[in-house]
Structures are given as structure tokens and as C-alpha cells.
């Protein structure tokens, strides 16, 4: 059971939201961020190399050129490994928890799992981001001391930053499962 929808992020980039429904109690959303474009890659590389070549003609030291090559390579590697997030996954399992995974372009994955017992609610929130107001989905964590308090807010899809229509789609499904969870945890 899998369907894919296209949305756009806050800057107008194209996002693909994959929704996988394993069972009524287990749902996965995968939000693929826009890929790194060849154009921007070429532009950055050319800029660095042109600057290095300009410096080289000024001071005639070939170390600068090799340094530029290394800087480009290391920068690209670092960008792919630590900055560029390829897709973000949200896995909601009823009565178990919510798991967020962000996969970097290099294949590195960083996962956070939040147990259902700690989750207070999932809400859509507003935030001021640069010059505009954006919406984001976030998980509210329960305060272990005070049962109705909120100790922490965990934002979701931080790198993709989808628009409200996409968030509502995810939000509805989350709420379905959370409602089921609440009903079962109170009934016995």
C-alpha cells in the first residue's frame, strides 16, 4: 500500500511525499528533498577554481591550485555527508512510538526514536523563518514530572520544509494513529 504525491517546499522546490501503509497501526512517510543540481555544483566549483586561478596569476604559486582542488573535494564530501539531506522519513507505529530518520546524500542515516509514552501530541506550528512565517510539524513531548506539561518540542521535516498542504496530509494520518493509541491506552 503505497502512494506518492507531489508537493512543494516553502521556496517552491519540488518535494515527493511517499506514504506507505504497512498495517493500520504502522504508517511511514518519506519526504524526498530536491536533488543537488548539476548547475549549482558546476557554478560553485567554477567559482572556487576561477578564484584560485586568479590568485595563482597574482602570486604564481602552484600550491594555490592544489589547495583549491582539495578544498573543493573536501567541501563536496563534507556537504554530502553532513549537510545535504536526501530524504526524511517519519515512521509512526501505534503503541510503540514515532521514529524520524534523515538520510544524507552520502548514505549516512541519523535516526531518533521517541516512545509513544513520551509523546504528548503532534501539532502543526508556525514559526518565523528569515522574512516569512512558515508552518512546521512538531512532536510535543510529555514532561515526566508534570503529566500535562510539555517538556520539549521536536520539529519534523526540518530540512525539507514542506508547505502546509503536505503537512496537513501527514498530520491527519498521525492524528488517526494517535487517537487510536489514546483510545486503547485509556480503555483497559
Amino acid at each position: 500500500m503505497e502512494d506518492e504525491q507531489n508537493f512543494s517546499d516553502i521556496c517552491g522546490g519540488r518535494l515527493a511525499l511517499q506514504r506507505r501503509c504497512y498495517s493500520p497501526s504502522c504508517l511511514e512517510f518519506c519526504l524526498s528533498c530536491p536533488r543537488i543540481t548539476l548547475r549549482s555544483l558546476t557554478a560553485v566549483t567554477c567559482t572556487v577554481w576561477l578564484a584560485a586561478y586568479g590568485l595563482f596569476t597574482l602570486c604564481e604559486n602552484s600550491m594555490i591550485l592544489s589547495a583549491a582542488i582539495f578544498i573543493t573535494l573536501l567541501g563536496l564530501l563534507g556537504y554530502l555527508h553532513f549537510v545535504k539531506i536526501d530524504h526524511e522519513t517519519l515512521l509512526i507505529i501505534d503503541s510503540l512510538g514515532i521514529q524520524m530518520t534523515s538520510s544524507y546524500a552520502s548514505g549516512k542515516e541519523s535516526t531518533t526514536f521517541i516512545e509513544m509514552g513520551e509523546v504528548n501530541d503532534v501539532v502543526i506550528n508556525e514559526a518565523i523563518y528569515m522574512q516569512k512565517v512558515i508552518y512546521y510539524l512538531c512532536i510535543l513531548l510529555k514532561d515526566p514530572v508534570e503529566p500535562h506539561g510539555i517538556s520539549q518540542v521536536v520539529p519534523l521535516f526540518q530540512s525539507a520544509k514542506p508547505r502546509l498542504d503536505c503537512l496537513i496530509e501527514v498530520y491527519r494520518s498521525c492524528q488517526d494513529i494517535l487517537a487510536h493509541q489514546k483510545a486503547t491506552s485509556t480503555s483497559p
Binding site: E2, S23, P24, S25, L91, I93, L96, F113
Partner: protein, 630 residues
């Protein structure tokens, strides 16, 4: 169904998921009454039925049929399967074994249900037999777990017995199968998120999290896993087994010898610390010197660490054990690096060369300082300084340098021997050698320190005088009681003398400030070098090498939490998840296990440092030990 399961971890599951789909469809009728397919009865599955979670060890996935033994956690409505008891068994013996385990581990281990692994043709009788077992080992709910032959289709059924003998009236719940690696879960140490301050690292039982309970259950029922495959007990169990005890003689010997060696070393160390606590060393000039020498600080720190390592008391919790191990590795590395340095120094007779080079370097530094002073006594950088004061200060400092040079020359015959002895100290560790180096630098640049102190005192006097005289100039004064500037009427003679002094100080300020600036820069250079050495020492002292190595080689030992992966799924079958250990990030490893260093915080923030420099207060590289504790 386009989901491709990535990177399967375990052999049994890997095989299961690698085969895309079992070849022949199930022609044989299912002997075990399967739970009603969820698709067929949406009302019961969509309703607010409980979702039961069954944690199942991956190593038991290929075990023979039998009984599921584990713990039922009612708050989480989850069952943690620990082992599978194989046929044939005598129920009394199983109960006895479980009672033993329960007594040893304080975990409520019970029989949870049955496990049926169909390798060959299904046997009709087995199904009925398994069903009948529920009557002997009554448990609510009763799990019936079943794996089809060589395939990935599992079925699971949880039955709540309403009456003692009426399975037909039982209610059935949704079941979720979660596979876990028993060995990793057993060995791993869960670190709850650092964001919650009231939870302690070792305090997993207090936190009521569901996963913590699972981890706790597995860790505490270690007694169940003691028997290995070759043991011939009355009950045949299937669970994770170690690869066999390592029977190396060396390890045995080390284990056997560790106790007495520790005792001996602890005695020696207590002797050393008693000697160092001797009253003779606490007399005034000596104690002052001890507190200022970084070598002594470092030695004291190492002594404390060694005392802790070789103390015969057992570590109370895993955190303490880890700390001990970290300290031990850190000391070992330190000593190894120190020995390397020592051998390198002695192989090429570097000490002699160093001693020969030291005197000319000191001379050269003194000469450069003389040049600098002569430059300052002229018109440095075109600045207009007060000639008389300039000459006085310059001559005073020149005389000081002269004294210093003669002192160095007096010392020169002994330098090589001193250096040789100092070099020997490297066998105590690289950090000790570095601390000694820092102290030597401090001693060799004593003249710069003196200049700095004179300059700073003079400048400080001027600045304070000027600030209070400026208040007098405006007809104000500092009210100590109210901590503010109040207006005040002065006498005529006070005003006159104050203004006279103010004028004099204003015109003399640039000269003093320039001398202060130059010597402060020199001092800052020395302090920076010393600070870098201290930083290196602190790094070696505080790096939790053992934890980092553990994180690198056995990532599951330090767990930040878990992550789940959905295994291939068919409709109508229970959801299967694979639980993997989420290793702790390196930054948190560093943060959690960083060893305390000797007074490790820098004394100033940048702002206060600049303020102190501006007002001419003295800055010191050494740290105050007592102040930072509270």
C-alpha cells in the same frame, strides 16, 4: 509491494527476506487455526483493540518448536521472549527452572505461549498438542507463534482465556512482532536522552519507558543464558549463546593475579600519597611553590587517578566501571607516549643538543629584549613620550635584563644535568613531561614576567588614579555606601592638588601605557604557549579513550536508543519490525564520559580578560584549584 528491505542484519531474517516470495502457494490447509484475517474483519481490527507487542530474539527464529519463555510486561502490553524450551520436556522441570531463574534475576519469567517452526510437512497432531499446552501453563494472554517452512510468513495469535477450558470464548488482539538481537540488547547500556535532567544515566529502572523495561528484562535475566549449547540439562533451551568461554591461560592468570596486584599497588600508592601529604611540604614557601607549578598539579591528579583505578573496591555501576576503564586507558596511553618520547630523546643524544641550544636561545631572547627597550627609549613609532620617564623606565628594565643574563650564565654548567633528570620524568607519562616543559618555560621567561608585573602595576596605579582624579576634576566622588558617583564639594587645596596630579598623570599616561602594552604582548605570547601545553595535557587527561574505542568497535554497547525497521509485510499477517540499537553519537560519548581534569576551566572569559588587560590587573596562566569547585 515495492518495499525492498535494505541491509538485513541477521542470517535467518536475511534468508527470509532475500527470497522474494515462497514458490508454491500454500496448498496445504493451515493446521493451526490462524487468526481471522484483518482484511476480512475490519470491524474487529480497526476497533480499539489492544496492540500486543511480542519481542522475539532473532537467534530463536530458526529454533525448533517449543514453548516461549519470557516476561510479560502488562503496563506496556508487551511480551519479551527470552528463550524457547524445546520438546521433549517435563512441565514440572520447566517450572522449576523458571523458578530458579526468577529467584536469581528477580524477573518474572513465565511461559508465554508456544512456538511452532514448520520445517517439514506440517503435523496435524503438533498443532493440537501446542494448543493443549495452554491448559498446563496458564498465561493471559497466551501467544501462539508460528513460522512457515523456509519462508517469511509468520503468524501470531494472542488469546485471552476467558474460562479455564473454553478457548472458543477467548478474545483475540492484534499482535506486533518485534525482532531483537539478544546479544546486543544484553550487552548494550541504554543512555536516556540528555534533555531530561531528572533521569540519571544508570537509573534505567526508575524511568518507566517501555524500551527501558525491555532492556532491563534482557539484562537482568542473564542467568537464563548461562547454559550453553553443549550443556546436558533436563530442559533443552534455545537462546543466544556465547561463542564459548575464552580459555586463554593469560586471561585466567590476569584474572587470578589482578586482586593481589591491585592490593599491592594500592598500598604503594597510599604510601606515596602519605609521603606527599607530609607536614614538611605544607610549610609556607613550599606550599606556595607547589600550588603554582603545573607539574605538581599533574602529579597529584595522576596519583588520584591511580588510587581510584587500583582501589580494591568494586565499581558500583556501569558508569563507574567505564570511568575506571577510561582512566586506565588514558594512563596507559600517557605512559606509552612518554616512553616513546624518552626513547626518542635518548637515541640521538638530543638532550645534550637541547642543553647546548638553550643558553644561546636565552641569550638571544635577552638581546632582543634589549633592542626592544632601546627602541622604546627613543621615539617608538613616532609617539611623543615623556623623555625623562622614558629614560628612567628603560634603564630600570635594562638593568633587569643584565641581571638575568648573568643569572643564566651562572646556571649554564648545570643545565645539561637538570635536563637529563627532567627527561627521565617522561617515563611517568607524556603529560608530566609536558607540564615540566611548561614550568621550564615559565622559569626561563621570568624576566618577561617581572617586566610585565612592573608595567602592569604602574599602569594600574595610573588608571585608578586617573579615574578617581577625573571624578574630582568634575566635582564628583565615588560613594562607597551607595555604590555610585555622587557630587561633592571639595576644599580649594584638595582641588588644586588633585588637578595638578591629574594633569601630570594625563601627560605621563602614554609612556606608561606603551611600556605596559609591549610587555603585556610579550607576556601574552608566553601565556599562550603555556596555555596550549595545558590544553594538550588536559586533552590527554580528559579524553575517554576506552568509551570512544568501544563506540568505534562495538557501537551497540553504548546505546542512545533504538530504531525500528519494518520487515517485509503481507496483509493478514502480523506486522514484523526489526529493532536495532541506535549507537550513541560521538559528541555525547565525549560529553558523558569525559574525565575530570585538574581545575580544567579557563579562569577568564574573553570579556573579563580584555577588561583585566585594560585596567592593568595581573593575569596568570595557572588555574585556581579550589575556586572552581563550587
Amino acid at each position: 509491494m515495492g518495499l525492498v528491505s535494505r541491509g538485513t542484519a541477521e542470517a535467518g531474517l536475511g534468508a527470509a527476506s532475500a527470497v522474494d516470495r515462497p514458490g508454491p502457494p500454500d496448498a496445504v490447509p493451515d493446521p493451526i487455526p490462524t487468526p481471522p484475517a484483518e482484511g476480512a474483519d475490519p470491524g474487529s481490527s480497526r476497533g480499539p483493540g489492544m496492540v500486543l507487542k511480542a519481542y522475539f530474539p532473532t537467534c530463536c527464529a530458526s529454533a525448533d518448536s517449543g514453548l516461549l519463555v519470557g516476561r510479560w510486561v502488562p503496563e506496556q502490553s508487551s511480551a519479551v521472549v527470552l528463550a524457547v524450551v524445546h520438546f521433549p520436556f517435563i512441565p514440572i522441570q520447566v517450572k522449576e527452572l523458571l523458578a530458579q531463574v526468577q529467584q536469581a534475576s528477580q524477573v518474572g519469567v513465565t511461559v508465554l505461549g508456544t512456538w511452532c517452526h514448520r520445517r517439514q510437512e506440517p503435523e496435524e497432531s503438533l498443532g493440537h498438542f501446542l494448543e493443549g499446552l495452554g491448559a498446563i501453563f496458564s498465561h493471559k494472554p497466551w501467544f501462539q507463534l508460528c513460522r512457515e517452512r523456509g519462508s517469511k510468513s509468520w503468524s501470531c495469535k494472542a488469546t485471552r482465556w476467558q474460562g479455564p477450558a473454553s478457548p472458543a470464548a477467548s478474545g483475540e488482539d492484534q499482535v506486533m512482532l518485534i525482532f531483537y538481537d539478544q546479544r546486543k540488547v544484553l550487552l548494550s547500556q541504554l543512555h536516556p536522552p540528555a534533555a531530561l535532567p531528572d533521569r540519571q544515566a544508570g537509573d534505567t529502572t526508575a524511568s518507566a519507558g517501555g524500551l527501558a523495561a525491555v532492556f532491563d528484562t534482557v539484562a537482568r535475566s542473564e542467568a537464563l543464558f548461562q547454559s550453553d549449547r553443549f550443556d546436558e540439562g533436563p530442559v533443552r533451551l534455545s537462546h543466544w549463546q556465547s561463542e564459548g568461554v575464552e580459555a586463554s591461560i593469560l586471561v585466567e592468570l590476569a584474572k587470578w593475579a589482578a586482586g593481589p596486584v591491585c592490593l599491592l599497588l594500592a598500598c604503594l600508592l597510599s604510601l606515596v600519597s602519605a609521603a606527599s601529604a607530609c607536614r614538611v611540604f605544607k610549610l609556607w614557601p613550599l606550599s606556595f611553590i607547589w600550588s603554582k607549578l603545573s607539574t605538581c598539579e599533574q602529579l597529584r591528579h595522576r596519583l588520584e587517578q591511580l588510587t581510584l583505578i587500583f582501589s580494591t573496591r568494586k565499581a558500583k555501576n556501569p558508569a563507574q566501571l567505564m570511568r575506571k576503564a577510561n582512566m586506565f586507558v588514558s594512563v596507559l596511553l600517557d605512559v606509552a607516549l612518554g616512553l616513546m618520547l624518552l626513547s626518542w630523546l635518548h637515541r640521538k643524544d638530543l638532550i645534550g643538543q637541547l642543553a647546548d641550544a638553550l643558553i644561546p636561545v636565552a641569550d638571544h631572547v635577552a638581546e632582543e629584549l634589549q633592542h626592544l627597550l632601546q627602541w622604546l627609549m627613543g621615539a617608538p613609532a613616532g609617539l611623543k613620550m615623556n623623555r625623562a620617564l622614558d629614560q628612567v623606565l628603560g634603564r630600570f628594565f635594562l638593568y633587569h635584563i643584565h641581571l638575568w643574563i648573568s643569572y643564566i650564565h651562572l646556571m649554564s654548567p648545570f643545565i645539561e644535568r637538570i635536563l637529563w633528570h627532567v627527561g627521565l620524568s617522561a617515563c611517568l607519562g607524556l603529560t608530566v613531561a609536558l607540564s615540566i616543559l611548561s614550568d621550564i618555560i615559565a622559569l626561563l621567561t621570568f624576566h618577561i614576567y617581572c617586566f610585565y608585573v612592573y608595567g602592569a602595576r604602574l599602569y594600574c596605579l595610573k588608571i585608578h588614579g586617573l579615574s578617581s582624579l577625573w571624578r574630582l576634576f568634575r566635582g564628583k566622588k565615588w560613594n562607597v555606601l551607595r555604590q555610585r558617583v555622587d557630587s561633592c564639594s571639595y576644599d580649594l587645596d584638595e582641588l588644586f592638588i588633585g588637578t595638578l596630579l591629574f594633569t601630570v598623570l594625563v601627560f605621563l599616561l602614554p609612556t606608561t601605557a606603551l611600556y605596559y602594552l609591549v610587555f603585556t604582548l610579550l607576556r601574552l605570547l608566553v601565556v599562550t604557549v603555556q596555555g596550549l601545553i595545558h590544553l594538550l595535557v588536559d586533552l590527554i587527561n580528559s579524553l575517554p579513550l576506552y568509551s570512544l574505542g568501544l563506540r568505534l568497535c562495538r557501537p551497540y554497547r553504548l546505546a542512545a536508543g533504538v530504531k525500528f525497521r519494518v520487515l517485509e509485510h503481507e496483509t493478514g499477517r502480523p506486522l514484523r519490525l526489526l529493532m536495532q540499537i541506535n549507537p550513541l553519537p560521538y559528541s555525547r560519548v565525549m560529553h558523558t564520559y569525559r574525565l575530570p581534569t585538574c581545575g580544567c576551566h579557563p579562569q577568564h572569559s574573553w570579556g573579563s580578560l580584555c577588561r583585566k588587560l585594560f585596567f592593568g590587573e595581573l593575569i596568570y596562566p595557572w588555574r585556581q584549584r579550589g575556586d572552581k569547585q563550587d
